[in-house]
Symmetry: C2
Subunit: 320 residues, 2 copies
């Protein structure tokens, strides 16, 4: 009944230590930072649960007694895309800590653009004391794409700060105080009202490349900020980096914040790094902290072994 | 029963237009941008209400039928300090729009320092993709000085974002979810727990120069951000600019955001402009918008003339 932490590019150590603290009697195995597992055949057979971030597909395929796969990120596209993915339940992370961190990031970047952070920074460099025309939050509409747990919490935090918030999702969702649109039919109405577009979309075949030049051209152009803003803290695969760069250059976007990119890490040679009015962060909007998340996973394993249901199961057909 | 808009350094026009829209039958007079009133003796006698921002003291003294003085800013120190201030009720602005704008500013700057905005901007300039250690909001304590309408609303917004919030004020205040301290006796306990100090204090003899080197030295030094942060969106007179500069230079503060200064406008030659990890904004945290505030004032005048009480009266002895 061993647990295997199978991660590529991260140190597994903090996860392993935290799991052992929470479940002292349980065997916890780990891969190296290259995702390779050095265990023998008995070890492979002992593994019932895997905590995965970009796991090696051949490793998953060799776990003949695997029962549940836990994704260590909110997005599961990196796991669903694996060749020969074992046919076991896949659980995605839904954790109050992760959700709160995402809402922190969204509120931070929405406020940065709303309160003209770049313009104030330029005035400071020029040592100029000059008041800018500042709309109230209630005059600004934030449009959130993706109304799952993360989108709903961000919507609520932004409403508390006084913004008008609207939402768009694949299927119909009802959130108090948030006018919601859905599907292809609702997209144009949603975009036409949106001053600050926030994407928290998962990466699925339907969202791949969705945020492109034609979509950005549909955002509200005569809003109180002087033009639209894009914030993507979802998945880089849902955006077209070059179209965003072009829109920032020609003024179709007056600002943007990107935490995710088509290629990550963003190559040092990318022209995005030096675009004005663009905030770049290295996929850190909501980073899973072992301290907060390991408890959730151990609780789920305990419930599962007592015959209980798993929470936050991914539907592979839907993609999230 | 005329209303006079008496402002120095601002155009009175937008206020006058808005007041006339809301109260078409009423006479509305105005000063020039230099605060000088060009009316004759009959005009002076007609004035019952003044809306004031840095009014000229000799003008106020000449209004022999003045009944109520409305301050157009949340702080009233500029009016209380006038020589020969007429002995009429002084009303300060308490408006949902002004309150919301202040909470926007506080949340923006708290998130900027909490989410390491300066460090991320430097990484972006260097084209480096590097994850920084990021504490959760719940690990960070924001200490708010001043628990009036503005402080309470900011506390609530920060709690919603997940921060631990504590407060300090002159007299005892009770806010749900916020541990509160008061008076000189409570100051040291308050500061010793505070990672991000937010001042929304009014300027009074008790608060003048309060935020100085010795006070900053009492902030929590071993917190999750690596050191304390100061945000002042209250009054410049409550801080010692040079002590803040020194604390930023020697690391007693790891960052600060100042919207207010001892001398405003901040002189172009001030060394503050170019300090690293300092955000400077030109006293714009919460600017009164005529659209939102004029309604409140007209409603108060109407109620006053029907014999009702005035809201948000200033106690001159207390200073706010």
């Amino acid at each position: 009944m061993a647990i295997l932490v199978a991660v590529t590019g991260w140190e597994a150590g903090p996860w392993v230590r935290r799991l052992k603290e929470l479940a002292p009697g349980r065997r916890v195995l780990e891969t190296g930072i290259d995702g390779v597992f050095a265990g023998n055949r008995d070890d492979l057979e002992a593994v019932r649960y895997v905590l995965a971030w970009k796991p090696r597909p051949e490793l998953l395929a060799s776990l003949i007694n695997l029962q549940v796969l836990f994704s260590l990120g909110a997005g599961v596209d990196n796991i669903l895309a694996l060749p020969g993915l074992p046919d076991v339940p896949l659980v995605r992370i839904v954790d109050p800590d992760l959700t709160a961190r995402m809402s922190e990031y969204v509120a931070w970047q929405v406020l940065h653009h709303h309160r003209q952070g770049f313009a104030h920074a330029r005035l400071q460099v020029e040592r100029r004391w000059q008041e800018l025309r500042q709309p109230a939050a209630g005059e600004v509409t934030v449009g959130i794409m993706g109304l799952g747990v993360l989108g709903r919490d961000a919507a609520e935090a932004l409403c508390r700060l006084g913004f008008r918030v609207i939402g768009w999702s694949r299927t119909e969702k009802v959130i108090e105080g948030v006018a919601s649109y859905h599907g292809k039919a609702g997209l144009e109405d949603f975009l036409g009202q949106t001053d600050i577009l926030v994407s928290l979309l998962p990466l699925t075949p339907e969202t791949a490349g969705l945020i492109d030049g034609p979509l950005l051209a549909k955002l509200r152009r005569d809003g109180p900020l002087g033009g639209p803003v894009l914030i993507n803290a979802g998945r880089g695969g849902s955006q077209v980096d070059a179209d965003i760069a072009a829109a920032l250059a020609d003024g179709r976007l007056i600002g943007a914040s990107l935490d995710v990119f088509q290629d990550e890490p963003l190559p040092a040679g990318s022209p995005l790094w030096s675009l004005p009015n663009l905030v770049i962060t290295p996929h850190i909007a909501a980073v899973s902290a072992p301290r907060a998340l390991a408890r959730n996973i151990i609780d789920q394993i305990t419930a599962f072994e007592s015959g209980g249901p798993l929470q936050n199961l991914v539907d592979p057909a839907r993609g999230y």
